[in-house]
């Protein structure tokens, strides 16, 4: 019996092949396969090609179940840059790959947990939507946080 292959397309229109039985670790893809028999190409318009390559590398892993936990931790550890991890976490969230999403989010949380507020804003590109007056008021109220 030949293994069925699926084709995934990244947002920059690159195509990736993956065996169906591995791809369906993603609940989102599994549901699509179930619904429409996933004919030709599955477009993933929110995932860029670098991230999708990572996701596919993860889905293709050959791990015994008991080593899997360590593997996924190491997998995200090796991609310790916050922007990469965010893309990966977002893709794992969209594709509903729970372990990968858990590990990527946990890694980001670990990296930012001791950041100052400024560092958090910079790392996650969060806009400070408070006026300088509001900012000062809140700093006075929450001195322990700074």
């Amino acid at each position: 019996m030949s293994k069925k292959t699926l084709t995934l397309m990244s947002k920059d229109k690159q195509l990736f092949n993956i065996e169906e039985h591995l791809a369906v670790q993603s609940v989102t893809i599994r549901n699509m396969v179930k619904e429409d028999g996933a004919s030709s190409v599955i477009p993933l318009p929110r995932v860029d090609s670098e991230t999708l390559a990572l996701v596919i590398e993860y889905l293709n892993r050959q791990q015994a179940p008991e080593e899997d936990e360590d593997y996924v931790k190491k997998f995200v550890d090796e991609r310790g840059e916050i922007p990469t991890l965010l893309e990966l976490a977002q893709a794992a969230l969209d594709l509903d790959i729970k372990k990968l999403m858990d590990a990527a989010c946990m890694k980001v949380a670990d990296l930012i947990k001791d950041f100052t507020l400024e560092e958090v804003r910079e790392a996650l590109r969060i806009e400070n939507d408070r006026t300088p007056e509001e900012e000062k008021a809140i700093r006075d109220e929450f001195q322990w946080a700074f």
Partner: protein, 401 residues
């Protein structure tokens, strides 16, 4: 931006968002509350409290009931306990996520010292330790943020013939974001209940006067929107905080009340640890652990036997646990959910036991025990300090002082 979409059945919706590309990459997190919630929900409490200040948007996200609900399982795992002024970590697996809290209770210069009366879902009810009772001050203290509030004195408590019998704290991380303090006053031969709400900031008489044959209202436990006191027997009082009503417990009348070793709440369950009947030497090491859920009826409490515990091995391993006529020197300090170091996810119920100079953790599921702390150089008073052991928990609600 749609918030907290259900994943899996929204692919079509997601495909239609292909034009959204410009917002991807850097700004990705800022515009996606789903992902943000997932990441922030994995932070320790102290980081979450700090990060509320990152932006207004983060503040509303992190203060939202939805986030509190998501984060609640983490909060219901307690990382340790205070014995007097001293913090002792339980050594569970989840502890690396909760940085150590303050090391002492010197949050306020009270020259009589401060002791903890009750620990309730992240807040501590404290009071002056020594000195005359009428000069005693009460405090609410958040050990995670070091915020505290001095509780105004109870009106009438200085009157002749009046004394404070009991103070109880009611605070729920989700259902009751404002805390309440329930005071039982004894006025000559009658009792009165006054209640203090943190949002109003005033005491109010709630039950003007009642007679009770129950005279001790010690070690209040807040569970299922009510305060229970540790001497639970048939016809004992409990106080429904939400209805502000005093009610009687309907329990089957028992010929003899077995010794209560522990009475407390953990993760929505009420636990009662009682000595099992028997008159032989080891019988005081034999106990029953009962567990109640919100929808269980008190009358059937004794049917809710969850664990039978035999600590016979303890005095063998720790000979310092001396035998006195009819009891060994030990005290049950806490019954708490935790995760063993080696186990990744599996939560089990633990009983934390204090013996002279040591704190022991007993896994109720697999009956193994482990020494978690050596107190020999800290307290030299046998098991006496253990009566002041209170659990440490955290709350995401720091602003209600």
């Amino acid at each position: 931006m749609a918030k907290l979409r259900r994943i899996g059945n929204t692919l079509k919706f997601r495909l239609s968002m292909a034009d959204d590309e410009a917002t991807m990459s850097g700004a990705l997190v800022g515009s996606n509350d789903d992902l943000l919630t997932q990441i922030l929900g994995r932070l320790p409490v102290t980081s979450i409290l700090r990060f509320k200040l990152v932006s207004k948007h983060w503040n509303s996200l992190l203060s939202h009931r939805r986030f509190t609900l998501l984060y609640h399982p983490t909060l219901s795992l307690s990382p340790g306990l205070f014995i007097r002024n001293f913090y002792i970590p339980y050594g569970f697996n989840h502890e690396n996520r909760t940085p150590p809290p303050l090391r002492s209770l010197s949050f306020h210069p009270d020259r009589r010292g401060i002791k903890i009366l009750q620990s309730c879902n992240g807040l501590l009810l404290c009071c002056s330790d020594r000195g005359k009772e009428r000069d005693r001050k009460y405090y609410i203290f958040n050990p995670t943020t070091n915020h505290f509030a001095t509780v105004p004195s109870v009106p009438g408590c200085m009157d002749f013939g009046t004394k404070i019998c009991s103070m109880g704290l009611a605070f729920h991380r989700i259902d009751c974001p404002q805390y309440k303090i329930i005071c039982i006053l004894r006025i000559k031969r009658l009792f009165q209940i006054q209640i203090y709400s943190s949002d109003i900031g005033q005491w109010k008489i709630c039950v003007k006067s009642f007679y009770s044959s129950q005279t001790s209202f010690d070690n209040g436990v807040y569970w299922n929107k009510a305060i229970y006191w540790s001497n639970i027997y048939s016809d004992a009082w409990y106080f429904k905080v939400d209805l502000q009503r005093l009610q009687k417990l309907s329990l089957p009348v028992q010929f003899r009340q077995p010794a209560t070793y522990y009475f407390g709440e953990c993760g929505g369950h009420l636990h009662l640890v009682e000595r099992r009947d028997g008159y032989y030497r080891e019988s005081c090491l034999h106990m029953n652990v009962y567990e109640m859920n919100y929808d269980d009826d008190f009358i059937s409490m004794k049917k809710l036997l969850k664990y039978e515990v035999e600590l016979d091995e303890l005095p063998v391993a720790y000979p310092e646990m001396k035998f006195h006529p009819n009891h060994y020197e030990f005290k049950v300090l806490d019954v708490v959910m935790g995760v063993e170091e080696e186990e990744e996810e599996k939560e089990t119920l633990f009983m934390v036991v204090g013996i002279p100079g040591k704190v022991i953790r007993f896994n109720l599921a697999d009956k193994s025990f482990k020494e978690i702390f050596d107190l020999t150089n800290i307290f030299r008073l046998g098991t006496r300090p253990f009566s002041e052991a209170r659990r440490y928990t955290q709350t995401l609600n720091p602003k209600n002082f």
